[in-house]
């Protein structure tokens, strides 16, 4: 094992070590687990940075730990490949994780399950790192599920709350539905390619018939839908906000949910051979972006609003990768990770200050009380709204530009529309929380969070402010794109956001959309020059639709969950107990009834015995004569 391999394996090792230590010996570590855990992750982050530069100035490389499964012709190794795509992800994941860890020390300070929390969190980081570094589909699948599991335990971290444990379970199961497709996709790859290694699969995929490629791509995408909470499997993500807020920031905004985008970027070869599958990705992305934004506009729970926003932004990313603009998708992924992480953490900070209050109707005017939080929040909000020069502007604009460029005007329009709605709902949130009159409970002592929480916020805010410049237009020549595009160069319909249209015109449209969104929010919530209630009444149906999240949960409950339960009860009560068991018991019953009849032959009367005997003789003789 050379030093490169060692570094590569040390990156996941530290979080794993942390997970085991806090998990098994948490009692003894108690308070140290937070600091030590953060240090472990920071070490991983440093190592990731080292690897980043090694790859940036060298080559991608593969490193194998041991042979995992070797069942006749099915062979899978535990091995990693580090290339440009993965190092970006690595640095991003470990970086944000470090900040979230540090933040969590403050946020979770008084929680009983402090060590347990860090154990879970470290485990998650480990799984996420491995997911990114895996060099074959099975390993990817393994850690795909593993992050899902971590998400499950973290969402249900406060398991005493029924809603939390429900949400965790829901997340896991919905993810499993996606994974079901993913698993089938992996199997389909294996049975057709005979291998699961990325390099072999990607180099040989074009030999398969197109319909198979499309099937594989769609099945993989099913996994992505589940993990990245795209329509129609998006229902778990809003509920996942039951978990601790740093978890939401890390898992449900920055890292895990973007794994779907990562997957498609990783499998861009497969998708590039299947235009129809790519189209499906695009459409799903568009739908999700739109409906999530639509729902977010009327919600009152600040975390949920941000969660829907995450959905919506993920929709953007999928639109990007759907049209083959992988670089743009990844760029948005990273910048989104930063500002959305920031938004969640600030929301957490608000909660922290408000003793866990989440309803924005009970807030207002907090700006004066928690300045650091408010400013960082607004930075995040601006980034989300795509206001230059914040990072969101550059990344979102790259996507919109490539949509326009590709000729998908319909989706471009949706994109712009969503940009407007995004700006509206996030500033609706900001105005309601930080400005305007206060609806805060008088007894509540609102306070700014401790430094251990605000420092990560500030760091993130800085990044959110300046990160975009590495992907500045003209896109192809920016640092980020020239770095990443080397990995995507061999994909078929590679469509970097080329500027054969003046980019600043398009950007202007987006900026206008963003600003008008902010203005609308301002009009509604600060100036109050429009009567909200009247609007609500006029568009009652639309409002109800948005408010009730398009009734999707209800539809699922009605169309899937309940029929399944009823069917299960039917199977148990009717098929199992009545038919099958009944048949068995029925036979026993029949035998016993027959037995009680047969016994009567032996009635104790000698006469009838003689008679029986005689009848026997007659029967035997009769057989001879009748024969």
């Amino acid at each position: 094992m050379n030093s490169k391999d060692l570094i590569v394996w040390l990156i996941p090792f530290f979080p794993l070590l942390g997970a085991i230590l806090w998990g098994v010996f948490g009692k003894y570590f108690k308070n140290y687990s937070g600091y030590l855990g953060s240090i472990f992750i920071i070490i991983s982050f440093i190592l990731s940075t080292v690897i980043f530069f090694m790859v940036a100035y060298g080559h991608s490389f593969t490193s194998t730990l041991y042979s995992w499964i070797d069942a006749s012709y099915f062979k899978v190794n535990i091995s990693t490949t580090v290339d440009r795509l993965s190092v970006i992800m690595l640095v991003m994941v470990t970086g944000i994780s470090s900040l979230v860890h540090i933040y969590s020390i403050g946020y979770m300070k008084d929680d009983k399950g402090f060590a347990r929390y860090f154990s879970y969190l470290n485990l998650f980081v480990f799984s996420m790192i491995m997911l990114i570094m895996a060099n074959n589909f099975l390993l990817l699948y393994v850690f795909w599920e593993a992050v899902g599991f971590c998400s499950y335990i973290l969402i249900g971290f406060w398991y005493e709350k029924k809603s939390a444990s429900n949400a965790g379970k829901k997340a896991f199961i919905v993810n499993r539905i996606g994974d079901f497709g993913f698993a089938l996709g992996v199997m389909l790859i294996f049975v057709n390619m005979g291998t699961l290694n990325y390099s072999s699969v990607f180099s040989g995929i074009h030999l398969l018939p197109p319909y198979l490629i499309t099937t594989i791509a769609l099945l993989l995408f099913a996994g992505a839908i589940g993990k990245s909470a795209q329509f129609p499997l998006h229902v778990w993500l809003p509920d996942a906000m039951e978990g601790p807020t740093p978890v939401s920031a890390l898992i449900h905004a920055a890292t895990m949910v973007t794994a779907g985008v990562y997957l498609i970027a990783r499998c861009h070869v497969i998708f590039s051979y299947s235009p129809s599958a790519s189209n499906v990705v695009l459409i799903i992305g568009g739908i999700t972006a739109f409906i999530a934004a639509f729902i977010a506009m009327t919600q009152f729970d600040i975390k949920r609003i941000i969660a829907y926003s995450t959905l919506s932004q993920l929709g953007y990313m999928f639109m990007a990768v759907g049209i083959g603009s992988y670089a743009a998708g990844i760029f948005h992924l990273v910048s989104h990770a930063i500002f959305k992480g920031l938004l969640f953490l600030t929301a957490g900070s608000v909660m922290h200050g408000m003793s866990g209050e989440l309803d924005l109707r009970k807030m207002g005017g907090l700006y004066s009380k928690m300045k650091k939080t408010a400013i960082t929040f607004i930075v995040g909000g601006l980034a989300l709204s795509g206001i230059p020069p914040f990072s969101g502007f550059f990344s979102k604009d790259a996507i919109l530009a490539s949509l326009f460029n590709k000729g998908d005007y319909f989706f471009w329009i949706i994109g712009e529309l969503v940009a407007f709605m995004t700006a509206f709902y996030i500033f609706r949130l900001i105005f309601n929380v930080f400005f305007g009159e206060s609806h805060v409970d008088k007894n509540l002592h609102v306070h700014e969070s401790p430094n251990v929480m605000t420092v990560p916020l500030i760091i993130l805010a800085c990044f959110a402010a300046v990160f975009g410049f590495i992907g500045m237009p003209p896109f192809n020549h920016s640092i980020f794109y020239s770095f990443i595009n080397k990995d995507f160069a061999n994909s078929l319909n590679f469509s970097p956001a080329v500027n054969n249209y003046p980019w600043y015109l398009l950007s202007t449209v987006s900026v206008i959309a963003g600003i008008s969104g902010i203005y609308t929010a301002y009009v509604f919530y600060i100036k109050k020059s429009l009567d909200l209630e009247m609007l609500k009444k006029r568009f009652k149906a639309v409002y109800a639709l948005s408010y009730n999240k398009l009734y999707i949960d209800e539809i699922y409950d009605f169309a899937i969950v309940r029929p399944m339960k009823n069917f299960s009860v039917f199977l148990w009560r009717v098929v199992d107990s009545f038919v099958i068991d009944g048949a068995v018991n029925g036979i026993a019953q029949w035998i016993s009834v027959t037995s009680s009849k047969v016994r009567k032959v032996q009635n104790g009367m000698l006469m009838s015995y003689v008679f029986t005997l005689t009848v026997g003789v007659i029967a035997l003789l009769a057989y001879y004569f009748v024969r």
């Binding site: 006469m607 008679f611 005689t614 009848v615 003789v617 007659i618 003789l621 009769a622 004569f625």
Partner: protein, 165 residues
């Protein structure tokens, strides 16, 4: 000869029917002695005088007397209602009728004497059937004979055990 055969047949069958139909067991016992006599007649017809004598001695003399003794001993002569109810009778007659038909139907071919053995009437009469039977009993059938003797002994023990209070 033929006439005797028919006479004996009629007596035997009639007395047999009486045995099973009269109410009083004592009467039954008397009828069965009559039947035994008829059978003894058959044996004489069949040139087996020794057996005929045995029939009278053993059956009519010993067995029937034992039965009569039993009836007297138990004071059973008064026992009434010997035949079971009508259904039983009908069922029994049907069953036995079937049995009878099944056996009898195929004893139909008119046969004639087709001897396979050496003990013709002439020889038997020459040696005397008692002597021949005696010789057989103590030579070829000596073992069954011994067994039969033990059997009788056992029967005696049995009767003793049962009858003992």
């Amino acid at each position: 000869m033929e006439a005797l055969f028919y006479i004996f047949s009629i007596i035997a069958i009639f007395s047999a029917l009486m045995v099973i139909s009269v109410k009083n067991p004592l009467t039954s016992a008397l009828y069965i002695i009559l039947c035994f006599f008829a059978l003894a007649g058959f044996y004489i017809l069949l040139n087996m005088q020794f057996l005929a004598a045995m029939q009278i001695l053993v059956y009519a003399g010993a067995i029937a007397v034992i039965i009569v003794l039993a009836i007297m001993l138990l004071n059973l002569a008064k026992t009434k209602g010997a035949i079971k109810d009508f259904h039983q009778l009908v069922i029994g007659i049907i069953a036995v009728g079937l049995l009878f038909l099944e056996v009898i139907l195929y004893i139909d071919a008119a046969g004639e004497k087709k001897p396979t053995g050496i003990y013709t009437n002439a020889i038997i009469n020459k040696v005397g059937n008692t002597q021949i039977i005696g010789e057989f009993l103590f030579t070829k059938y000596v073992f069954p004979f011994e067994v039969a003797s033990i059997l009788l002994l056992v029967a005696v023990i049995g009767a003793y055990i049962f009858a003992k209070k």
